[in-house]
Amino acid sequence: MEPFQNVKSIVTPLDKVNVDTDQIIPKQFLKLVQKSGFGKFLFFNWRYDENENVKSDFILNDPKYNKSKILVAGDNFGCGSSREHAVWALDDYGFSVIISSSFADIFFSNCFKNGILPISLESKIIQKLLQETNVVEVDLENQIIRTTSEDISFTINSHKKKILLEGLDDIAQTFQFEDKISEFEEKSTVPSVL
């Protein structure tokens, strides 16, 4: 995983609550067996009509936001299915920061595995960011979102911050505790399946 760099971009305002992972990446695109190439299917049913024509009223179809790396959305973002394809699609499309008033647990966890920074902020700040039209900077190291009018600080678990900043491989980290895992297995009373 690449280390997380500061992000400077305009924000894409997705003014919806309860955006579920079925909307982020509909099921017909879950059949692929690789991790790449999901960006073109992001929010597919909102971006395209049934004849696959572009729906001009959907925010992602406004060319103004083509280069945006920051998505701002309403409460409970990423709820529903555990599909990591949702994060792969956001990443592949070009988003590296998702800001919402709250996230569903599995989606939140999936973000960190793919170098995406999810930021939770109070609803009233989300409402302000949804109106923000200038470039903003997300500085993870200092935990600040800089807009033209103010600096907004955000909290993040220090362990998760480290993972993103250093781009750590989770599994390699875990293998450092190999002896502890073996020790646990020797004591475990839960029988094998087979």
Partner: protein, 471 residues
């Protein structure tokens, strides 16, 4: 201070613990399916890693398998490739697979308990959010993403932040337990706590309203914990739990001694304190029907659809969400639920496709015919459920009534296989999610219990099943 059941299971599975950091938790059971695993196995290959404990790992194919004639080839090439990929991965890494022709094939959350793979007090993960189902047995069961699937395959552990605890106490007794089901209890809970009400928590369902339930019904409750936003749902195991798991194909040999220790340890202490609490009294609850595009948008069968104002309780964003939902569902506030006509009926999914669900639905269907404008299908949760139902003659009851009787799989719960709604079609569904397009692009889903779905199939519109003779 006493401990909750969750805390006891958590503490007994800590491999590494550091202050203010996630704990490394040991995983006792890993269930794998075709959709969320290919990239995980690829990751192992790229890094030259093995599966640490194939003996704690079980795979099946459920999400995109066809539910029609299994002797025919799979027409959808991308589905066929994904299924073949799982076969190859299981072979390469030495994992036991219940493939499309296995008598044990089925929805992963239906077969785990049926085979005695799910055990009380264990930790269970699967790359599927409805893993919470297994919590009905007093297991800590978590849905995970594909990166975590890879992590568990490689290390049999997961880094997890300790969730908070949430007591959902269900008090009272249902007047008519055949008409008001476990599905109605869990939909009522979600309607009250909201779809994010359980975020960051593990729910423990307690009280007489829960202990009264059978294991099949308890699984329906825990299954939809994720729809309330929770990380997992738990029910303390009791005699019903222990009896259910005895003598299953993979029940451990030392089962009785395990039961003895579970009886002693697997319950929340009387002085345990939960971080959060919600109490539901079920004495007078009604069958539930969802009207919107998330499971919290649900009302009683004898109620009109609420206005966005009533639903949102002053929250502007929720109000906008409700307006959008009504538009998508092509419904109007004030419409009585029983006046809503339906086109399709789906009885299936990891929520409601176990034997008891099919028995209850069959009582309504027996001797009746599906309304002429309705297409209805039953998709048993597993091949074993299908076989048991057929031994009882349930297949004939459904087929005689013009239901389709299918092979096991996730089917129209998420429409990854050919079982999907057409745009605009309205479905009474026993599944768990009514998201936009979930059952097919433009499809409109109403979540209901199996008896409510069966009654809607016969009548062509929703019916309050309390009016029917179900005994």
């Amino acid at each position: 201070m006493g401990k909750t059941l969750f805390e006891k299971i958590w503490e007994s599975h800590i491999v590494v613990e550091k202050q203010n950091e996630p704990a490394l938790i040991y995983i006792d059971r890993h269930l794998v399916h075709e959709v969320t695993s290919p990239q995980a196995f690829d990751g192992l290959r790229m890094n030259n890693r093995q599966v640490r404990r194939p003996d704690l790992t079980i795979a099946t194919m459920d999400h995109n398998v066809p539910t029609s004639d299994r002797s025919l080839p799979i027409l959808d090439q991308t589905s066929a490739i994904q299924i073949k990929t799982l076969e190859n991965n299981c072979k390469d890494f030495g994992i036991k697979l219940f493939d499309i022709n296995s008598p044990n094939q089925g929805i992963v959350h239906v077969i785990g308990p049926q085979l005695g793979i799910t055990l009380p007090g264990s930790t269970i993960v699967c790359g599927d959010s409805h893993t919470s189902t297994h919590g009905a047995f007093g297991a800590l069961a978590l849905g995970i993403g594909t990166s975590e699937v890879e992590h568990v395959l490689a290390s049999q552990t997961l880094w997890l932040e300790k969730p908070k605890t949430f007591e959902v106490r269900v008090e009272g007794k249902r007047n008519n337990p055949h008409a008001v089901t476990a599905k109605d209890i869990i939909l009522s809970i979600i309607k009250n706590i909201g779809t994010a009400g359980g975020t960051g928590t593990v729910i423990e369902y307690r009280g007489e309203g829960i202990t009264d339930l059978s294991m099949d019904q308890r699984m329906t409750i825990c299954n939809m914990s994720i729809e309330g936003g929770a990380r997992a749902g738990l029910i303390a195991p009791d005699q019903k739990t222990f009896d259910y798991l005895r003598n299953r194909e993979y029940t451990p040999k030392n089962y009785e001694s395990l039961v003895d220790s579970w009886k002693e340890n697997l319950k929340s202490d009387s002085d345990a304190i939960f971080d959060k609490q919600f109490i539901l009294n079920i004495n007078d609850i009604a069958p539930q029907v969802s009207w919107g595009t998330n499971p919290g948008m649900t009302c009683d069968v004898d109620e009109p659809i609420p206005s966005p104002d009533e639903f949102s309780n002053g929250d502007v964003n929720q109000k906008k969400g409700a307006e959008k939902a009504l538009e998508y569902m092509d419904l109007k506030s004030g419409t009585m639920i029983e006046d809503i006509a339906i086109d399709r009926v789906f009885i299936g999914s990891c929520t409601n496709a176990r034997l008891e669900d099919l028995i209850e639905a069959s009582k309504i269907v027996q001797g009746q015919k599906v309304a002429s404008n309705v297409n209805a299908m039953v998709v048993p949760g597993s091949q074993m459920v299908k076989k048991q139902a057929e031994e009882m003659g349930l297949d004939k009851i459904f087929i005689d009534a013009n239901f389709e009787w299918r092979e096991a799989g996730c089917s129209m719960c998420l429409g990854m296989n050919p079982d999907i709604l057409s745009p605009g079609e309205r479905c009474a569904s026993t599944s768990n999610r009514n998201f936009e397009g979930r059952q097919g692009n433009g499809g409109r889903t109403h979540l209901v219990s199996p008896v409510m779905a069966a009654a809607a199939a016969i009548n062509g519109h929703f019916v309050d099943v309390r009016k029917l003779d179900l005994n």
